[in-house]
Amino acid sequence: MSSKAHSSNNIAHARRTVQQLRIEASIERIKVSKASADLMNYCSEHGRNDPLLMGIPASDNPFKDKKPCTIL
């Protein structure tokens, strides 16, 4: 690769990096305390509907192998 092509590659790369960083620098950010509170609220609102958290009664458990019943 000629040195001219090489250096224009470097410039193109540097320009893309600057453009990308401009995008990332421009966003609005909320406080971590608010973000944490929102995540905590979501967990607490949905916790009672989370089967892995609440447990699943044997009769409702789709993965549990059902043992055959014998009528004695």
């Binding site: 960083l21 966003i27 944490s36 995540l39 967990c43 892995l52 958290l53």
Partner: protein, 342 residues
């Protein structure tokens, strides 16, 4: 030459300035950690799940699994050269899809349940119609110049792929062509996840970065750093406002998208194995992370504490998944077995 050097120096200076600006903006909103905020939240106690079923059928290492949208069927991929579709309620195998290339690294179920996709060291993503009398190859998506590490369907007509060639790609399944190529990572892309609203997706790569992308614009919106090695696994928190990553540096991290930074880390000095895969429970309160130490460790998302472990595999846990109804966790391992827990 001198003019070019001057421009490069100016651009480099601007880069440094922007990086400093980003760090300062993140610091300015960093008014407290999540684990401190969650101090008052009730503990989940010890989470003890039982192994309800072991799915046997693969003859070699399992590399990937994905639940169907019905929370009953699940597809797994093994380097024995087969995809197996299971009925997880009965443990029966429903369909076996023989692969042209045995070196599979990823598998996905379409939301419709009609299609599955897989790919790996063949650099391709192959889409199969599994509703036909016998599985039929629908498309071979061939444009990546590196291995296929992850794939996810948006619908029966669009699929997202992540590749060792450092790019992610959105494909049109009607034409078999690339719609959008997402370029910005400087290391192999290892994992991707779609946002709940399907407007964005996240990727984790060997450059130790996680990136958030706008699906339609094709641009990278945010970059998250902090890991010190490859990110192998990535997932959205259920409300789409945060992401969780798992890495070869033996830790998981949660990054909040709106505060643009890490809010809590999940690591333990006794855990010296890389994280291969992860999935969240439906409320987001639990993280199931598969590790190279043959276990799947369970973390309390809010408090950052280890609250349980799924033990039973005889080799690395390579993939982990929770179905949409949240009724269980499935782990897949290099020991060739899949285990269902709840």
């Amino acid at each position: 030459m001198a003019a070019e050097k001057a421009e490069i120096d100016a651009l480099k200076k601007e880069c440094d300035g922007l990086r400093t600006k980003i760090e300062a903006a993140r610091k300015a909103v960093n008014d407290g950690s999540m684990s401190a905020a969650a101090g008052g939240v009730a503990s989940v106690g010890r989470v003890q799940l039982k192994n309800r079923k072991t799915l046997k059928g693969h003859l070699a290492k399992i590399y990937s699994l994905h639940w169907a949208a019905d929370s009953r069927q699940m597809v797994s991929a093994s380097q024995d050269g087969k995809l197996l579709i299971w009925d997880c309620f009965t443990g029966n195998k429903l369909v076996a899809v023989p692969l042209k290339s045995a070196w599979v690294m990823s598998v996905a179920f379409a939301p419709s349940g009609n299609l599955v996709a897989s790919g790996g060291l063949d650099n391709m993503c192959t889409v199969y119609n599994i509703k036909a009398a016998s599985p039929k190859t629908l498309r071979e998506l061939d444009a990546h110049t590196g291995y296929l590490s992850c794939c996810r369907f948006l619908s029966d007509s669009e699929i997202l792929t992540a590749s060792g060639d450092t790019t992610c790609c959105l494909w049109d399944l009607e034409t078999g062509k690339q719609k959008t190529v997402f370029t910005n990572h400087i290391g192999d892309c290892m994992s991707l996840a779609l946002s709940p609203d399907q407007n964005t997706f996240i990727s984790g790569a060997c450059d130790s970065l996680a990136k958030l992308w706008d699906l339609r614009e094709g641009t990278c919106k945010q970059t998250f750093s902090g890991h010190t090695s490859d990110i192998n696994a990535i997932a959205f928190f259920p409300n789409g406002h945060a992401i969780v990553t798992g890495s070869d540096d033996c830790s998981c991290k949660m990054y909040d998208l709106r505060s643009d930074q890490e809010v809590i880390g999940y690591q333990d000095s006794s855990l010296n194995a890389g994280v291969t895969s992860l999935a969240l429970s439906n409320s987001g309160r639990l993280i199931f992370a598969g590790y190279d130490d043959f276990n799947c460790h369970i973390w309390d998302t809010l408090k950052g504490e280890k609250v349980g472990v799924l033990s039973g595999h005889d080799n690395r846990v390579s993939c982990t998944g929770v179905p949409e109804d949240g009724m269980g966790v499935c782990t897949g391992s290099w020991d060739s077995f899949l285990k269902l827990w709840n």
